[in-house]
Amino acid sequence: MAQQIPLVDYLVLGDDPHLVANECTSCGARFFDRRNACASCEGTEFKRVDIPTTGEVRAFTIVSFAAPGIPVPFVAAVIDCEGTSVGANLINVTPDAEHVSLGMKVRLATEVIGTDDEGTEAVGFGFEPLGG
């Protein structure tokens, strides 16, 4: 199997791919990047937490124009993962208003987005419809 690297450092690959966040130990606010202090309570202690891999689509758009190299149309969405909001594309679904709906249940899925000159695959993530 080719070497893999996650698209972003808050995506953990392996047998059970999932997202991680920095959680403020005093108020529980979660951030996907580093903070000097919590934007909610100014606390300075954080711990790494796993984000649930299933959730519900709270908002979406179907984008028709994007930067070069990005296939369009694609679905961008906000997913409520059991109380933690995650921004991601919806994948493995036909990108139109008939197949995507507010409130639909989804789960995290990964996909290879490309291979570099050293043969390493970059792996991104999205959310796909749950069940069938």
Binding site: T61, A67, G114, G124
Partner: protein
């Protein structure tokens, strides 16, 4: 000299025609607006004690000083400001704060932008894809993430903001959002300064190029060139001016700027709701008016999906009631609370830094009874609203002079 209890008034105000101005640069456009505002107020650069200058795309340039060199260098302090789509409102706040602080009794604010043909505006930075994956940036990204992990493009962000409202309260649809755009394009036919003044049918709007569902092209703000400027004066100084200047002056009953407080998800999808509601709450309190007192509102319809949520955020309707409020016809120019009678950003255009003063010009012009064919008869109180992602929200409440 002015003081913290000092009233604030618009003495003179002007906006250029919005649209394509290939022969004019930023300085030309800003100077046209500033000269217009000075002439409208019957004053000159020598009367100004401060300048708040707004220009987003050239934020590193000394735009205020460039305009001074074009129109009159008097050595007064210039504050060049940049605050996304709230840049113009921020420039106005600078002049207002200087007067409130007692540093001067008259100040100038302007906003200018050259944006014609700018295309799609992204919110985040785009890193380039390299030949070997190397993590960089705050998220350790090995490739550009926009389009791979959601979207930071403006049409997509604001599309989700409208959809989120629909998910929370129900009743939204592609057609409903398109109807909001239909209203604004209809309003624009009466505004000679709008970039686009063509009436569009619902079918035309829905059948146009889809940019980011549910926003088609005419449901997006129009990138264009333009400038607007205002002269702000203290209440005590105004009393020393001519009766005609006092009669045409428009009272700034509230001038508010907010940023977004932390809330879950606010860093995933910008929460444009709370800071707008906070700004509106403060503005109503400062002005001592209620939403039902407003004769017209110019709000930040950067996309049709955004206009809907701001009916609610500005408390023009009950919480959760924006869909019914729109369907009642309240926001059409003959409705209970006319919204965006200028045509809004979707048709008047959105030269970013100019917008937060151009909307004040629109309301002030109605309050003065000088809006011609699109005059809202008997207008006495109006509100303006802008929001810049990041986020900053500017709200002003304006009142007709009793003089």
């Amino acid at each position: 000299m002015a003081s913290a209890s000092e009233e604030l008034w618009i003495l003179g105000i002007h906006m250029t025609k919005f649209g394509k101005h290939p022969d004019k640069d930023v300085v030309d456009l800003a100077s046209e607006a500033v000269q217009g505002a000075l002439a409208d107020g019957g004053v000159t650069m020598k009367d100004m004690g401060i300048i708040g200058a707004g220009n987003l795309m050239g934020a590193a340039a000394p735009t205020g000083q460039m305009v001074q060199k074009q129109l009159g260098q008097t050595g007064i302090p210039v504050f060049n400001v940049s605050n996304a789509c709230a840049t113009g409102a921020t420039a106005l706040r600078v002049a207002a704060m200087a007067i409130k602080a007692g540093e001067t009794d008259m100040g100038l604010a302007f906003g200018v932008e050259k944006l014609a043909g700018a295309g799609l505006l992204a919110g985040g930075s785009r890193s380039s894809d390299s030949n070997t994956w190397t993590p960089h940036g705050r998220y350790g990204a090995v490739a550009a993430v926009d389009g791979r992990i959601g979207t930071q493009t403006m049409p997509g962000v604001f599309a989700q903001i409208g959809m989120e409202y629909g998910h929370k309260y129900g009743g939204t649809s592609f057609e409903l959002f398109a109807q909001i755009s239909e209203k604004n394009h209809s309003h624009s036919t009466l505004n000679p300064l709008a970039a686009y003044t063509k009436k569009m049918t619902l079918e035309q709007i829905m059948g146009d190029v889809m940019i980011a569902y549910p926003n088609t092209r005419p449901m997006c703000s129009a990138n264009c060139d333009g400038a607007a400027a205002a002269v702000v004066v203290s209440g005590s100084k105004l009393k020393t001016l001519s009766l005609e200047q006092q009669r045409r002056a428009v009272k700034i009953s509230a001038s508010i700027l907010t940023t977004d407080p932390w809330e879950e998800a606010c860093q995933i999808l910008p929460n444009v709701n709370s800071l707008t509601r906070n700004a509106a709450t403060q503005a109503y309190e400062q002005a001592g008016v209620s939403p039902s007192d407003l004769n017209l509102v110019e709000l930040h319809d950067c996309f049709a999906t955004a206009e809907l949520v701001h009916y609610d955020n500005l408390m023009l309707c009950e919480q959760g009631g924006a869909v019914d409020f729109f369907k009642s016809g309240a926001t059409w120019r003959d409705g209970k609370t006319p919204v965006n009678v200028s045509g809004g950003l979707e048709s008047k255009g959105h030269p970013i830094a100019a917008t937060g003063i151009a909307n004040v010009w629109e309301v002030a012009t109605h309050l003065r009874g000088e809006a011609g064919d699109r005059q809202i008869e008997g207008a006495k109180v109006g509100m303006t609203h802008v929001i810049g992602l990041g986020s900053a929200c500017g709200v002003h409440i304006l009142e007709k002079s009793a003089a």
